[in-house]
Amino acid sequence: MDTHHITPISVYVKVYVILMLLLFATWAISRIQLGPWNNVAAMTIAIIKATLVFLFFMGVKYSSKLTWVWATAGFLWLLVLFGVLIDYMSRGWIPVKGW
């Protein structure tokens, strides 16, 4: 028998409302000067929004383990790619003395 999860419409609508509120929050926070915290706030909200879309709109929350693995693999691997930044951040450092 085929057992396929169908997310009810109410869940979609709730998630949508939260997403729109978060969008407003991002915009509002960007109008306040928080220094480096502006970035943190913007990216945190973006990650929350993306996670909501990922879990509910894309239905990963109700998926099999295998789907979980592959759905998160790409995002995790993106972090590896960001290892490129290590090069740029450490270029100015002087090599350890005595080496």
Binding site: L66, W70, A73, G74, W77, V80, L81, G83, V84, I86, D87, Y88, M89, S90, R91, W93, P95
Partner: protein, 560 residues
Amino acid sequence: MSVTQLENTIPESHPQKTYLNDGNTIGSWLLTKDHKRIAIMFLISISLMFIVGGWAATMIRAELVEPQGHLMSHETYNKMFSMHGIVMIFFFLIPSIPAVLGNFMVPIMIGARDLAFPRLNLLSWYLYIIGAGISLAAMLSGGVDTGWTFYTPYSSVYSNTHVTMTIVGIFIAGFSSIFTGINFIVTIHKMRAPGLTWFRLPLFVWAIYATSIIFLLGTPVIAITLALVVLERTLHLGIFNPAYGGDPILFQNLFWFYSHPAVYIMILPSMGVVSEIIPCFARKKIFGYNFIAFSSLAIALFGFLVWGHHMFVSGQSVYSGMIFSLLSFLIAVPSAVKVFNWTATMYKGRISFDAPMLYALGFIGLFTMGGLTGLYLASLTADVDLHDTYFVVAHFHYIMVGGAIMGFMGGMHFWWPKITGRMYPEKWAKIAAVITFLGFNFTFFPQFILGYMGMPRRYHWYPPEFQTLNILSSIGAAVLAFGYIIPAVYFIWSLKKGPKAPQNPWRATGLEWEEVPSPPPTHNFARLPIVEREAYDYEWMDGRDDSLSAASVAGGKGDG
């Protein structure tokens, strides 16, 4: 479409209706969704590309016999080595084992009727053909002289050859790799036969799975990077061009993020092939199955963490260099584990030396040398001198030719009876294997010494003191060429004249040998098999075989 008559009684060993004669029109091939036919089409296409790349290599070696070669101009020479690299890497080595042997064998090995997405598989081949066609057209219409590495800003600003067209070809072929990877991953996850758990899978399947991970996660990065180079060339943007504030080293970072794992795309499937061949010809269960399986995954994943070891002298941060050097030393370990396990498999085996085994043993020897010389390049201090010299050239040829192509040839011989239903001439095959091994060492060992002496790679003219070793290398290349021509001849010969192959000529384990006739029928299995044993259960296999008594397995006589 079908031309052959269906017969009621199909003999077990030589079925009348196979995937080969299920439709004889060109359309039945070009529109096929059968993974086996697509594999054959890949085999033909990559063989043609191998000829192109091999021809370029021949020209290079011929030119380097003299310190100031006069066969061709500097520009032509540069285009030759670029063509050799681009064709061999993007259009031969990367699709070689996955798209040919993997495509053919993986569904059969796991007991599936086809790959998960047959139409995607066909699309994969078309993308490959279009990509290869565009790149070849670029080479015919004047060529490209950037080397396969496309380093900016030379490729994006200074070179006035057909860089754009070549890159477009590679970009399209990249999607071929991605789709092949998706197909394998889904197929291996979802379509295994009942009872075929992950740890009963043939190790070749593990290797293909690991390779597919790299296809998926690496290829898009180089695709977009090369696309940026094209944008930079055509629209005069400056994302990697320092004249606009761009950073050439960012290109190198992104390029090697794919291109280092790409080396593992080439070598991992070969390791898989060797893991199939050695237990079969040693008549013994493979030693340390789990370690070989997990080392494939480890290589695929850690392979992504070492790209920076191509950039030790590039102006990359010294700290980055140290991290990458450290990780590069560690990634040698899973490879070493594999070598150890293959060797240990032979212990107390019952070894026969058919051609596939000779190739596999050659693979172990050459790969060991290639891997160990990799340590020199992973070491920061040694790399300062050896980087971009012939030492590097020799090292990666030991991996890619000594490793990947030996594995490919071994696999071709091993599965040739299954693929074509014909046997190749064993004696000639053994001769060819030995010639390949000797010719290879003859060609590339002198290049280690050249590199140590300081000859930089991609040099058209070189100081006269390097000539002797270059001549040796070129002679070796001529020998090596015979090692490739002989199999080409007898493979083609065997298609018509070769003796018909039984279902299981090697008495090997695995669904492709035990359950499927040679050549297989279109849908592989009449009834899907149920797997009850672990992989490489040669004790069971030999015990079942009538020619071997139980006593001879346990202690005494060979099977003669």
